[in-house]
């Protein structure tokens, strides 16, 4: 451990001595610079390490000049100061490295001096415990940053610097005034000494004004809302290396100083400041960033927003009346927020400098070429947006958990802001990851960004560890290890087949691990996910070559996170894995070449759902029970919380009002992933919905209304999505709507909340996996062979792909629910359940929906396989072997289940019983005869009957044996002519034009348009509203003054 003052002295001496070294040449200067940075960094690291390991427990006090604290100045290095200093020096070093590699303009030694003194100033600022000394260090920091900010080649940096100088001067004026008045008030400048003289009761008098002035000076530096125009201009105009260190390090120093001062001053309204300014800043900047065209300013808005959030968190931490574990949570949240923002944002600024392009639109396709750059950028963006398992996620989670329950609106608003953040960050990601002809070269060194990201990853790991440590949530270690194995898969990205085998291996191992699991709800879904995942992942190999290295790791990650959902024992761990699933699936969907917009919509909807769930969970927490288990009975808000939690599941199931993401996301997602998305992932919504209905709704006052509403949603979903499906021309989009429609039936089953209903829902869940997996897998194979997913371009493929056709036909028959295959039993159970409850209208809609579904069923079969085969597909082969195997396996399954429904119903019975229902509402007679009180269903008989009838027909046919003559494809009775091309006689486009005319009012995308309208409305509004930042220095200064008057007005209850 090094005496902290030595750090300052050595740095100063080095900075001074550069004046001589510059005569010897640049190398000497650089040498001195790096040696100093190295020394400083290792020194603060040793202190921080001491704190971390517990070797140092109390803050290190350094008396300067040998005088005891109130007399002389003293430094006090506490835990957070030390940590922050490490961060600042690290990022400072990275920024310097970046800048040196980029090439500084002529007086490089001077720039390095400024850099050193900037780091020194901020370190001193953190370490000092004297109000005036603080002012001096603030000035050192500010002046160094004035100079550095102005240093960009772009002249607009001068403008930014000037604005900063003026506002910074005003800010430090208030700090100085406050410090001196504090001296006058308390008789010393030492923070602790003054703190000991302040009692909250003294805030009636002038102390309030003094404290406000001092803290206000710091608040300006914290870039809070009405007075942060200058900061945004700096982010936009200044050298990104400088901005990286400002945003990543220095501002955090100001933040720590602010919080510490507020604590020392015992300022009573710190929470109000957080709520008024912090929250406003957060929300306003997250929305203002939406239409931002300049990438650096966009990141600037984000930085400002994060600072607002930090101030809010500080408000809660200091003045929120938190105690015990809550306080620890909030502290951890703050620490994680700071670390996250420091490392991610500085990386992002480095990357903006590497690309040297300011306009966001010109970032199109930036990430296409460079894998490393893509990883760095994605990691940072994901962490900034709060995606698990990165540190930003844990920060947000801790934050939400720690907020007292009476501030629920804060939770809602913060999560709203988080959604807004995701919207613009992933708009950016959408642009950067899309295809483009643009060619980019990386100008500069990528090392700093990589180092930052490495640290970020390490911190993410640590923070996740801390989360589970503090919340005492148990997660399956096996699961985490297997998730870790996804990284190994990533490393083996060069060999697709290896990745594939490894993925299958992991899934099989998981299945082996959980082979003895109890068949309750969780166990049922666990097996469902793993078995389904195994089958569907098996089929991905042929199509996976189209997608990036990260396809398999993400695939395994998402499947395993679903396992995590199924294994979750508390709502909060369910939420964690839920988010993991959403994000990893987003990243996979985004790999589809046209899926950029679609995946964005998917992500935004998922985020809305996820955060709604989080706020619902927040409502369930009570007192010390921060992480409610499923049986939690904190019932005060439970209707609202149930609805909020339901939102997440409904969005994932894509039911009626929130279905808008489904068509495009299903349609454009990678072909290998769509079966999983439809077959398994959307079923996690089913899982969650069952959990909610079983565990939460019974406690609510309005459960019957909610349930009927859900059933209605489900029925309308089933009907309208089936209708929409008929009018799609893209095969995957047809199946997408079909998927959603089928999930609607499942939702009805859940909403029935009866044993028969659950049986129907669970049966249909599995059944849907079978047939929709089959259909999507077959389609993937077809697209793989033909290269198109556009229905009118297909046709006649039965001649080329008979196996696929057979499987597909089975799938369609099951889908349509026609006996004797497995689809019918589910329908029968569902209708019986509905009859039992006498929900006639739901029954009517559901049955009608299944009739409407025939339209798209026929359309699929006809346009893909039947009709005329195009010339260009004459040489098309049967689908690749893995896909064919999966098709046949699934087709076999649907037949087997059709004859013997007990294959599924045996499992679902156990689940229904474990959910607390005494029986499934039906009885078996044999493995295939199901009896309910409305009648019975004999699958075996039906199969025999169908086969028997078929045999009769066949026998009859051969009785009247006629000579069958096979004719050519074009040899049709076409008005006496033989058409010359298949295209001219293939009827494949807009099959239901007549139906469209009949139902046109119903199939206009009303919901989609209204979502679009809302989004565009908000976007237009914020686009206009961000003109608040006029760019006019006077106005910026004016807002500072206005804010100060406002603060005085609201906080000062007068000595007059």
């Amino acid at each position: 451990m090094v005496n902290p003052v030595v750090i300052i002295a050595i740095t100063l001496m080095a900075a001074f001595s550069i004046g001589i070294f510059q005569f010897f040449g640049k190398k000497f200067v650089r040498g001195v610079f790096w040696l100093t940075i190295l020394f400083d960094f290792s020194a603060v690291l040793s202190i921080a390490y001491g704190f971390l390991t517990g070797k140092i427990t109390k803050p290190i006090m350094v008396k300067i000049g040998g005088f005891p604290p109130p007399i002389g100045i003293n430094l006090s290095v506490d835990r957070f100061g030390a940590y922050l200093a490490v961060v600042i020096f690290f990022i400072g070093a990275m920024a310097a490295y970046h800048w040196l590699n980029k090439g500084i303009d002529d007086p490089e030694p001077k720039a390095l001096v400024l850099m050193l003194l900037l780091l020194l100033g901020s370190t001193g600022m953190i370490f000092t415990q004297d109000f005036f000394n603080l002012f001096v260090f603030i000035e050192i920091t500010s002046i160094a940053s004035y100079g550095l900010v102005a240093s960009n080649v772009d002249w607009s940096s001068l403008e930014a610097s000037f604005k900063y100088i003026v506002i910074g001067s005003i800010s430090s004026t208030f700090v100085l005034l406050g410090a001196v008045l504090l001296y006058k008030f308390g008789g010393s400048l030492n923070m602790l000494d003054i703190s000991s003289k302040i009692t909250p009761s003294r805030y009636g008098g002038v102390l309030m004004i003094i404290a406000i002035m001092f803290l206000f000076g710091l608040l300006i530096e914290l870039e809070l809302f009405p007075m942060n125009g200058w900061a945004l201009d700096i982010y936009q105009g200044a050298n990104p290396a400088v901005v990286a260190i400002l945003a990543g390090g220095i501002v955090k120093g100001f933040y720590l100083v602010f919080v510490r001062s507020a604590i020392y001053l015992k300022f009573p309204y710190i929470l109000k400041i957080g709520l008024i300014f912090g929250l406003t800043t957060y929300l306003v900047s997250q929305f203002f960033a939406w239409k931002q065209k300049d990438i650096r300013r966009l990141f600037g808005y984000s930085s400002v927003g994060q600072l607002g959030l930090l101030v809010l968190a500080a408000g809660f931490y200091v003045g929120g009346g938190l105690q015990g574990i809550d306080k620890t949570y909030m502290l951890l949240a703050i620490v994680f927020f700071v670390l996250n923002h420091s490392f991610s944002k500085s990386t992002l600024f480095f990357i903006t400098d590497l690309i040297e392009e300011k306009d966001i639109e010109k970032w199109k396709g930036v990430l296409k070429g460079n894998k490393l750059l893509k990883t760095l950028f994605s990691t940072s963006v994901l962490s900034m947006a709060g995606a698990p398992p990165f540190i930003g996620f844990w920060a947000k989670l801790f934050f939400v958990l720690a907020i007292p329950k009476q501030y629920f609106y804060v939770v809602v608003l913060v999560l709203l802001g988080a959604v807004a953040e995701i919207i613009y960050y992933f708009n950016l990601y959408r642009i950067t990851s899309s295809d483009s002809e643009n060619c980019f070269e990386i100008k500069g060194s990528i090392v700093p960004a990589s180092m930052n990201t490495l640290v970020l990853l390490g911190l993410s790991f640590l923070s996740g560890y801390y989360f589970f440590l503090y919340t005492r949530i148990s997660v399956s270690t096996n699961l985490l290890i297997m998730m870790g194995a996804a990284i190994i898969i990533y490393i083996f990205g060069f060999s697709r087949i290896f990745q594939w085998v490894l993925s299958l291996g992991i899934l099989s191992y998981a299945l082996y691990l959980f082979k003895n699991i109890n068949i309750n709800l969780q166990g049922f879904f666990l097996l469902f996910i793993l078995v389904g995942g195994l089958i569907l992942v098996f089929a991905t190999y042929p199509v996976s070559k189209k997608y990036s290295w990260s396809f398999y790791p993400l695939l395994i990650f998402s499947v395993l996170s679903m396992v995590g959902i199924a294994l979750a024992k508390e709502w909060i761990s369910l939420f964690i894995f839920w988010e993991l699933m959403s994000w990893s699936s987003y990243l996979i969907i985004n790999q589809g070449s046209k899926a950029k917009k679609a995946s964005w919509v998917y992500l935004v909807m998922s985020a809305i759902g996820g955060y709604a769930m989080l706020s619902g969970i927040k409502l369930l927490t009570s007192g010390p029970n921060l992480v409610p288990g499923f049986n939690s009975t904190a019932m005060r808000y439970s209707t609202l919380s149930a609805i909020l939690i339901f939102t997440a599941f409904l969005i994932k199931m894509a039911t009626a009002p929130v279905h808008i993401w489904a068509r495009e996301a299903y349609g454009e997602s990678p072909d290998g992933f769509t079966p999983i998305l439809s077959g398994i992932l959307s079923k996690m919504g089913v899982f969650g919905a069952i959990l909610t209905v079983v565990y939460l709704l019974p406690h609510t006052a309005h459960s019957s209304v909610i349930l009927y509403g859900l059933a209605l949603f489900g029925a309308l979903t089933a009907l309208f999505m089936a209708l929409f499906a008929a009018f799609q021309e893209n095969v995957k989009k047809v199946l997408a709507y079909s998927s959603v429609s089928q999930v609607g039936y499942i939702l009805i089953g859940i909403a029935l909340a009866s044993s028969l209903g659950y049986s129907a829902a669970l049966y249909h869940t599995v059944n849907h996996l079978i047939f929709k997996g089959l259909l999507f897998v077959a389609v993937a194979g077809i697209i793989y062979r033909t290269g198109t997913s556009y229905l009118p371009e297909m046709g006649g493929l039965i001649r080329r792909m008979p196996v696929t056709f057979l499987a597909f036909l089975m799938g369609i028959i099951t889908l349509a629910g026609i006996p004797p295959l497995s689809g019918f039993a589910g329908k029968w159970l569902l209708y019986s359940a509905l009859l039992e409850k006498k929900w006639m209208f739901i029954l009517l809609i559901a049955m009608f929906a299944s009739i409407v579904a025939f339209m798209y069923c026929y359309k699929l079969l006809h346009t893909i396989f039947l009709g005329q085969l195009r010339d260009k597909y004459i040489k098309v082969k049967e689908v690749p072997l893995p896909i064919a195997i999966v098709e046949l396996v699934l087709a076999g399954l649907t037949m087997a289940v059709g004859i013997k429904p007990s294959l599924i119903l045996d499992f679902s019975d156990k689940v229904v019983k474990s959910l607390g229902f005494y029986g499934p509402g039906y009885a078996y007679q044999g493995a295939h005869r199901i009896v309910s009180k409305f009648g019975y269903w004999n699958a075996y008989f039906m199969a025999v009957f169908a086969i028997g009838a078929f045999i009769i027909a066949l026998v009859l046919f051969f009785l009247v044996k006629a000579k069958i003559r096979k004719v050519g494809q074009l040899d049709i009775g076409y008005s006496g002519e033989v058409p010359d091309s298949p295209e001219s006689v293939h009827f494949g486009y807009d099959l239901y034009a007549h139906m469209r005319r009949a139902v046109s009012p119903f199939i206009s995308p009303i919901m989609e348009n209204s979502y679009k309208k809302v989004y565009n409305g908000i976007a237009a509004f914020v686009d206009y509203a961000r003109r608040f930042y006029t760019g006019d220095l006077n106005t910026y200064a004016m807002w500072v003054i206005i804010t100060l008057s406002f603060i005085f007005y609201i906080f000062y209850k007068g000595v007059f």
Partner: protein, 301 residues
């Protein structure tokens, strides 16, 4: 059990004969209504024999080949699943406890098969027809489902047998009189189901030769013909069971189905044809509103 299969065969043969006859009568009546002489009532038998006796049959592919089987299977299935004479060991056929829902779905089986075969022929017209049929089905199924679900809820069963026995004990117990609005909706839907005249755009004899079976000939066509006849009879029986109290003996069954048949034929003779979307719109308005009157009554009860 095995004797049932035997009787099943008998029912199929009988049903076929009856169905062909009804078809012939229908053609005759329609012709008379139009002021033509029309073919003999046995014309359909002649046609069938003629078709069967043709030597060669043209095939376009596997599905084309299998479609008539499906069609026939659908016809046989429907006919055998609805109880012609309730409580009769033989003529209640293979009806069972949950047969109502099964029949509803099985009715589609044959249509789908035929549609697939038609599509496999590669003829655009034969592909067009099923789309019309499916669209129209979406139309008439709504009122039909209203009446079926209404009855099922009202009688608390999904078994045709139970439905029939609930209507015993006098003509006023028939659903036709118990739930007149449901019945009206159901019968209007039935017109659509038969693709009879106002709703005949699917077969559309003038424009598209003979609708879905455009490319079919000889043996294949004979199968479709057979299937269609069986199907028709099955549906008459279904409606009889649903609304007219079923039948306790074969004669009653004949009378009632013939009555329904006549109703269809006379309506057919009078009305001009709707376009598809007109038909759909029609089905979704008047019969639905009418049906909902009783439906809501049951719902409230």
């Amino acid at each position: 059990m095995w004797y049932k299969i035997l009787y099943g065969l008998l029912v199929v043969v009988g049903g076929l004969a009856y169905g062909l006859l009804l078809g012939g009568i229908s053609r005759k009546i329609t012709a008379r209504l139009h002021g033509r002489r029309g073919p003999t009532v046995f014309q359909n038998y002649i046609d069938l024999i003629k078709l069967i006796r043709k030597k060669t049959a043209i095939s376009h592919g596997t599905m084309f080949f299998l479609a008539p089987m499906f069609r026939l299977l659908g016809g046989i299935g429907v006919l055998l699943l609805v109880p012609i004479v309730t409580k009769s060991a033989i003529l209640s056929n293979f009806s069972f406890g949950g047969d109502l829902i099964v029949v509803l779905y099985f009715m589609v089986f044959g249509c789908l098969g035929m549609a697939l075969g038609a599509a496999d022929s590669g003829h655009p017209h034969s592909a067009l027809a099923p789309t019309r049929g499916l669209a129209q089905m979406a139309g008439y199924e709504l009122p039909f489902l209203i009446s079926v679900i209404g009855l099922a809820i009202a009688h608390n069963t999904v078994s045709l047998g139970t439905l029939v026995s609930a209507q015993q004990g006098g003509i006023l117990h028939w659903n036709l009189f118990q739930y007149p609005f449901l019945s009206i909706a159901g019968f209007i839907a039935m017109l659509g189901m038969y693709m009879a005249y106002p709703f005949s755009v699917v077969m559309a004899p003038q424009e598209i030769a003979v609708g879905p079976p455009t490319e079919y000939s000889s043996t294949f066509l004979s199968f479709m013909f057979t299937g269609r006849s069986l199907f028709g009879v099955g549906k008459y029986v279904l409606f009889m069971d649903l609304f007219l109290g079923g039948a306790t003996n074969l004669l009653e069954a004949f009378v009632k189905t013939f009555a329904i048949f006549l109703f269809v034929v006379f309506i057919t003779g009078v009305f001009p044809r709707y376009r598809t979307e007109q038909a759909v719109k029609f089905f979704w308005t008047y019969p639905v509103v009418i049906g909902l009157i009783d439906f809501i009554r049951i719902f409230i009860k």
